[in-house]
């Protein structure tokens, strides 16, 4: 799975699994017809995103690889939470402590250390450049 088999959709059909665990090879019109497919069967898995990150890194696209690594972590975050987290990171939405709490949530609840570190870094920068909410009421 980790080796370079790009495009994975062609060359690693047997190994690729959706977020649900269903193998790519079993996501077929017949399965759709039979009512076997679920929303999670059309969602990318953290493992596949890490494989894509590795492919990007090896091709020299380091920052894209880092982004795909954070994306792998964010597969664990539910849709509504994801929207809320993005909103929290926009300027003037959160206090420093709220951002640190968000980072901790990412690290502990979702096992997302890279993204957690990203939010911690944002908290420091926002504090320095006046991009935090003035009160806890944000």
């Amino acid at each position: 799975m980790q080796q370079r088999k790009y495009p994975l959709g062609q060359n690693a059909v047997e190994q690729i699994k959706a977020a649900s665990g269903r193998p790519l090879a079993e996501i077929t019109p017949d399965a759709l017809q039979a009512g076997e497919l679920d929303v999670a069967d059309l969602q990318i898995s953290a493992e596949t995103l890490r494989a894509q990150a590795e492919i990007a890194r090896q091709a020299g696209y380091v920052q894209l690889a880092d982004n795909l690594t954070r994306a792998a972590e964010l597969t664990a975050v539910p849709n509504d939470e994801l929207l809320r987290m993005y909103e929290a990171l926009r300027p003037g939405r959160c206090t420093y402590d709220q951002l640190i709490a968000l980072a901790a949530q990412l690290e502990h609840t979702y096992a997302a250390p890279q993204t957690g570190r990203w939010v911690r870094e944002a908290a420091e920068v926002y504090r320095r450049f006046g991009l935090l909410a003035q009160t806890d009421g944000a």
Binding site: G9, T28, L42, Q43, G60, A65, N79, Y86, R128
Partner: protein, 750 residues
């Protein structure tokens, strides 16, 4: 002062509807070289940037911090900054330096260094650089599909036609935000009708855009805007950290991301801070790269008129495309928003991206009429499809489109409209009638569409957005209603999300219409641009060149002159070698194919009618006209010259089979003449009669007023192929044989 009539006309020209200003760097109105732009510098200590572009770290603004910590490849920075900018500029155009080498060094350049590199380059050099630095091997194009009525059937039909025409990505947007879910749904279905594989997106506010992507209604997001100053960025309600988070959020759902930036946006927002547009754009691009976006749409985008108001503006816009490609970003290179009133100016500007080729030549070609374009009107519209196809054919280049037949277009449009009708019915959304489907199939714009119940559509769109419905339900609905192929393609878009291959740089899908190969990913990973000068890189050849050549307008030249060929004239007979005579007369010398292998002029006049008209004119002046056929040449001067040698008066009319005529006089140099009538398509029987009359007057030694002729400047352009083929036929009849006397069975009606 009396006004010049010429200046008055110039003042009314399209080019003078535009605004031109002198640079004013303090207001951000300078495309490059603002006195406030910093000089390149970089100091690294302990693996940390402590000074960048003349600013120590404690004076960094938010963007400097982001660029220094995420946008720069520190491992190569010392080498890159130590390389003279001129050397780097030369590497960009040197075919012996591979793309990867330049890209690696560009990653270690500060924003001011990047600007310094391109400052050494003219547009031709930048185009060379762009051709090499483009990420994907083959260029592609993106479409904009919108309409004023947000009509779902028309959106689906237009998206289907756009996909058929070869657009690899299709973007929609809305005039009323609540329509967004239906727009996204409609273009998803349309884009997957036919061969399938076009990526789709809906440009709306960031959070709503993410919600649509989460439902699987869109497969890429492009309008993640970044800006080159801190204040403009915050006015855009984001920071580089929130934008990067958003990019990761999209990717976590298998959605492709491209950021948006472009010269002029900061000045427009009042936050240029005295810096040049290009310097600020370099900062944007480093933020984009640092945030981990695989690509960018830049090239001034909706601000294009602002750099264009300034000297060097179009060059700067090309420079920003080049900088993005140097940084390893996929580039959707603008040419989307209305750039000029002047077709000359906007097309000339287009060449800077079209000729080198970019990942997406336009970051939105309006695949709908301008009035239906909710992006503010496209620079190139549905009405320009054929122009675009012909440009590809003219230059043998790939600008991402293919010619299509009316039949094929109608088929996919109808099927897409039927599919969206079926999905609406299956999901309990407001009815789309058969009448609407047919109007969408054959329509051009929303003017052709029946009105819909707007409040009902909007209420349904709200419910749809808040429902748990995803692309899976859409695929199922299509399957239930018998649209198995489109269902399969929508499902395949889902499978591709699972595989994630199209998250890599410059990724698109290619599906072959007539083959089994569908959803073939093409990205910088598996089809990287390997241009290394002539004979290398992507070439328009083979099947793609065949496809580009075969525009439906092209005809076989073999049947072009069928209308000029008929039965040889029974009224015209050869009666022996042509004699030289001494009595006053006018010789009418015709070309070798006249009346035999050709029987009509290029203007469609029958050869016997033309002869009769000329002889009538001669007879009106009391002279006799003698017809001879010249065999040894198809050239008009030679034909007329030969006739003049035979003529008793020394006057002859030369007449080619295509109708071109000349009055010649014996003794004049061969390439001189008394009167020449090169505009044969404009010649009427009346003109031919006047030609005969004038020739007779010359023969009688009278004073002659030349025959007035109508001049049609476009005739040559329009008829050049026909002229070529008619002349070829005349030349085929040439024989080494002296002129013969012709007997024309006709009596003058004088």
């Amino acid at each position: 002062m009396n006004r010049s009539k010429r200046f008055a006309i110039l003042a009314e020209r399209d080019i003078n509807k535009e605004t031109y200003v002198e640079p004013w760097p303090e207001a951000g109105l300078a495309v490059a070289d603002s006195p406030h732009d910093p000089r390149p510098s970089l100091r690294i200590e302990g693996g940390r940037v402590i000074e960048m572009d003349g600013k120590p770290r404690d004076q960094f603004d938010m963007l400097d911090v982001f660029i220094a910590d995420h946008g720069l490849d520190l491992s190569v920075a010392d080498q890159a900054m130590a390389t003279p900018s001129l050397d780097l500029a030369r590497m960009l155009v040197d075919i012996n330096v591979p793309r990867a080498q330049v890209q690696r060094l560009a990653g270690g350049c500060t924003p001011a260094k990047l600007v310094d590199i391109v400052s050494h380059m003219n547009v031709l050099e930048m185009m060379m650089g762009l051709a090499k630095m483009r990420q994907r091997a083959a260029p592609a194009n993106q479409a904009h599909v919108t309409n004023r009525r947000h009509h779902p059937a028309l959106l689906a039909a237009d998206a289907a036609e756009a996909a058929l025409r070869g657009f690899a990505e299709i973007e929609t947007t809305v005039g009323i935000a609540r329509y967004a879910p239906f727009n996204a749904l409609s273009i998803l279905i349309g884009a997957q009708t036919g061969a399938g594989g076009a990526l789709t997106q809906c440009s709306v506010e960031e959070s709503l855009g993410l919600r649509l992507a989460l439902k699987g209604l869109t497969s890429y997001a492009e309008t993640l805007s970044v800006y080159g100053t801190e204040r403009a960025f915050v006015d855009g309600d984001d920071t580089p950290w929130s934008k990067a988070f958003l990019a990761a959020a999209y990717a976590s759902r298998g959605v492709k991301v491209r950021f948006t930036s472009g010269t002029g946006s900061e000045a427009l927002m009042g936050h240029a801070e005295g810096c040049s547009m290009l310097y600020l754009e370099a900062r944007c691009l480093m933020v984009t790269r640092g945030a981990g976006s695989q690509g960018v749409q830049n090239g001034s985008i909706s601000c294009i008129a602002l750099p264009e108001s300034l000297p060097g503006g179009v060059r700067a816009v090309l420079a920003e495309n080049l900088l993005a490609a140097m940084l390893g970003l996929e580039v959707a290179s603008g040419n989307d928003a209305l750039a000029s009133h002047s077709p000359i100016r906007k097309t000339a500007k287009l060449m800077l991206q079209l000729i080198p080729g970019t990942d997406f030549i336009t970051s939105g070609y309006s695949a709908v009429p301008r009035r239906d374009n909710l992006f503010g009107g496209g620079n190139f519209d549905a009405e320009d499809f054929d122009d675009w196809n012909i440009l590809q054919r003219d230059m043998q280049l790939d600008a991402g489109l293919r010619p299509v037949s009316e039949h094929d277009a109608l088929c996919v449009r109808r099927r897409a409209a039927q599919a969206v009708q079926a999905v609406f019915a299956e999901l309990g959304l407001p009815t789309i009638t058969d009448e609407e489907v047919e109007a969408a199939a054959t329509g051009h714009s929303s003017d052709d569409m029946p009105a819909r119940d707007v409040p009902a559509d909007l209420a349904a769109a709200d419910r749809f957005l808040n429902s748990p419905i995803t692309m899976l339900d859409i695929a199922r609905a299509l399957q239930q209603r018998g649209f198995e192929d489109i269902a399969g393609h929508v499902l395949e878009m889902g499978r591709q999300r699972v595989a994630g291959d199209y998250l890599q740089p410059s990724a698109i899908f290619v599906s072959h219409r007539d083959g089994p190969a569908r959803f073939q990913v093409r990205s910088a990973i598996n089809t990287p641009n390997d241009y290394r000068g002539p004979g290398s890189g992507y070439r328009v050849a083979g099947a793609r060149w065949d496809e580009i050549q075969r525009v439906p307008q092209a005809r076989s030249p073999r049947d072009f002159i069928d209308g000029n060929i008929g039965q040889p004239l029974s009224t015209l007979r050869e009666i022996g070698p042509a004699q030289v005579v001494t009595h006053p007369e006018v010789v009418v010398a015709v070309g070798p194919a006249f009346g035999v292998t050709l029987t009509r002029t290029i203007g469609g006049l029958a050869h016997d009618d033309v002869l009769a008209a000329i002889l009538t004119g001669i007879a009106k002046e009391g002279l006799f006209g003698r017809v001879v056929k010249v065999y040894h040449s198809s050239d008009l001067a030679a034909i007329a010259h030969a006739g003049a040698q035979l003529s008793g008066s020394g006057i002859a009319i030369g007449l080619q089979s295509r109708g071109t005529a000349m009055i010649q006089k014996r003794g004049l140099p061969r390439l001189h003449n008394l009167e020449l009538f090169p505009q044969s398509p404009s010649l009427t029987l009346q003109t031919y009669e006047q030609i005969g009359q004038n020739a007779a007057r010359y023969a009688r030694g009278m004073i002659v007023t030349p025959v007035p002729v109508q001049v049609d400047n476009w005739a040559r352009l329009r008829l050049i192929v026909k002229t070529t083929l008619l002349h070829r036929r005349e030349t085929e009849a040439v024989r080494e044989q002296p002129p013969t006397e012709l007997w024309f069975d006709w009596e003058p009606d004088v």
